[in-house]
């Protein structure tokens, strides 16, 4: 070992035995610190996990959705508009989408009812494909149990459940109910030639802006939502809430910083005496500062690592148990899914800066004040 390393090791040894003499206090400090790191780290890991999930999954969302607006609200769109949109150069296809909500009075849940427009999904009249959460919440536990829906008192419509969407896609499909177009129009009493909105496929993503400009001339009252808009909505949604929660956590960090500063400056008589003796036997200010920095480093690195590892376990192995109630909110149906585990250097660096820097800032000045005192003054 080089002399430098040996000196550092000896300083760390000394620091630790000094910390050990006040075990209870110091352990509680590390535990509180680790809890704060855990909280911030959980928030960050959870939101970035959600962000990534949304980003990947919605990368295949329709390039463009066209909505009709009436009174500032989403309205049904006439079937004639589909051809107008399809006629624009650069548009590969325009399809009317049929989807809506159904409030199930039996379990108080909202379903998203949708008509699939894809040859791979085979449905016949009276049949339905359900998302993973609907059978769970309605207690349709056995294979082939039909789903009865009631739109009003005395009404009962029966759907044969032919399939359940795989659990793997729960994040996007938990509350989906897929039925045929005829069933959809009958069930909701919809006129034959109207749609909920129109999805437009566009060959070249660079042309989206031009196509919207053209479409706006044809449909001046419509609203256009692009795939990038959708993706950005979700990125911002989780960014924003993460930021908000972290800001709240910063209040906790601040309080902790004040606590740490208080602890570092209001030394007990015993500690003051200790430093006085050290200086009397020949330690210089630099040595005392180095010793105290070791103390800070051990405390913060220990707390940081503990908090970060615990947060990883919490979010990715424990299913983010603390956040689950928030996520479920007031909804009856919620997707049952585990986040894709990930670790990212940006995140850990941010976490380090957000949690360790305030601690360092709060304790440096008190440390210096203690270290530079005269031995006789400190001892007195």
């Amino acid at each position: 070992m080089t002399p430098w390393l040996r000196r550092q090791r000896a300083l760390a040894d000394y620091t630790l035995s000094a910390l050990g003499r006040r075990k209870g206090k110091n352990i509680s400090l590390v535990v509180i610190y680790a809890l704060i790191v855990f909280l911030v780290a959980s928030i960050m890991m959870f939101s970035s996990g959600m962000r990534r999930e949304a980003d990947l999954v919605l990368s295949e969302a329709p390039e463009l959705i066209v909505q009709q607006l009436t009174l500032g609200r989403h309205e049904l769109i006439a079937g004639g508009e589909v051809e107008k949109l399809a006629a624009i150069r650069g548009v590969t296809a325009a399809k009317g989408r049929l989807w809506g909500y159904y409030y199930d009075r039996l379990n108080g849940a909202n379903y998203t009812v949708m008509v699939p427009d894809d040859p791979t999904i085979k449905l016949e009249q009276g049949q339905a494909i359900l998302g993973e959460a609907i059978p769970r919440s309605r207690g349709l536990s056995w294979e082939g149990a039909p789903l009865f829906l009631s739109r009003f008192e005395g009404d009962l419509v029966k759907f044969d459940v032919v399939d359940t969407l795989s659990h793997d896609s729960a994040l996007v499909s938990a509350d989906l109910m897929l039925i045929t177009e005829q069933d959809f129009r009958d069930f909701f009493g919809l006129a034959p030639d109207v749609y909920t909105d129109i999805s437009v496929s566009i060959r070249n993503e660079r042309e989206i802006a031009t196509i919207i400009a053209k479409a706006e001339k044809v449909m001046p009252k419509a609203r256009f939502v692009t795939r990038a808009d959708i993706s950005r909505t979700y990125q911002k949604l989780f960014d924003w809430r993460e930021g908000l929660l972290v800001t709240l956590a910063i209040a906790a960090i601040l309080a902790f910083g004040i606590f740490a500063a208080e602890k570092a400056s209001g030394l007990s008589a015993e500690e003051t005496r200790e430093i006085g003796i050290l200086k009397a036997i020949g330690w210089d200010t630099g040595d005392v500062i180095a010793m105290k920095l070791w103390e800070g480093a051990l405390v913060s690195v220990g707390a940081f690592l503990t908090g970060a590892v615990a947060a990883y376990v919490h979010v990715f192995l424990g299913g983010a148990g603390l956040f689950a109630p928030v996520l479920k909110g007031w909804s009856v149906l919620y997707p049952d899914f585990a986040l894709t585990p990930q670790i990212d250097v940006l995140q850990l660096t941010t976490l380090f800066l957000v949690t360790v820097l305030p601690y360092v800032a709060a304790t440096l000045v008190p440390i210096w004040r203690v270290a530079t005192g005269d031995p006789d003054q400190v001892m007195r």
Partner: protein, 112 residues
Amino acid sequence: MTPARRPTTPVFAALGLLVAGLGLAAIHVAVRAPGERARLAESTRLVKVLGLTDLALFTEARYTRHPSMADLHTAFQDNPMSFEHFPSGLFIAPPAHLPGGQIGQSEKDFPQ
């Protein structure tokens, strides 16, 4: 002083273990990746086939179920000045593409 008595030994070992824990987490990420990719691929396929636009995270109201398709009044849709009343509002910001609104606009804010 015998080396075993040095207090840094157990503490550095514990810190080392924690670093190893982070390393294990990284390995866990790598091990789980193929399965997760399959799961995400299934979701992505469904999104493409059905033309889905939103995550089924909050199903209690239409502006939380489909935030990207929400009306222009969302999330204050019942009344321009009303506050959010669903807990998931804590997680949902107004959609990115909506113009930023202002509370307490006065007449002079609107060009005549």
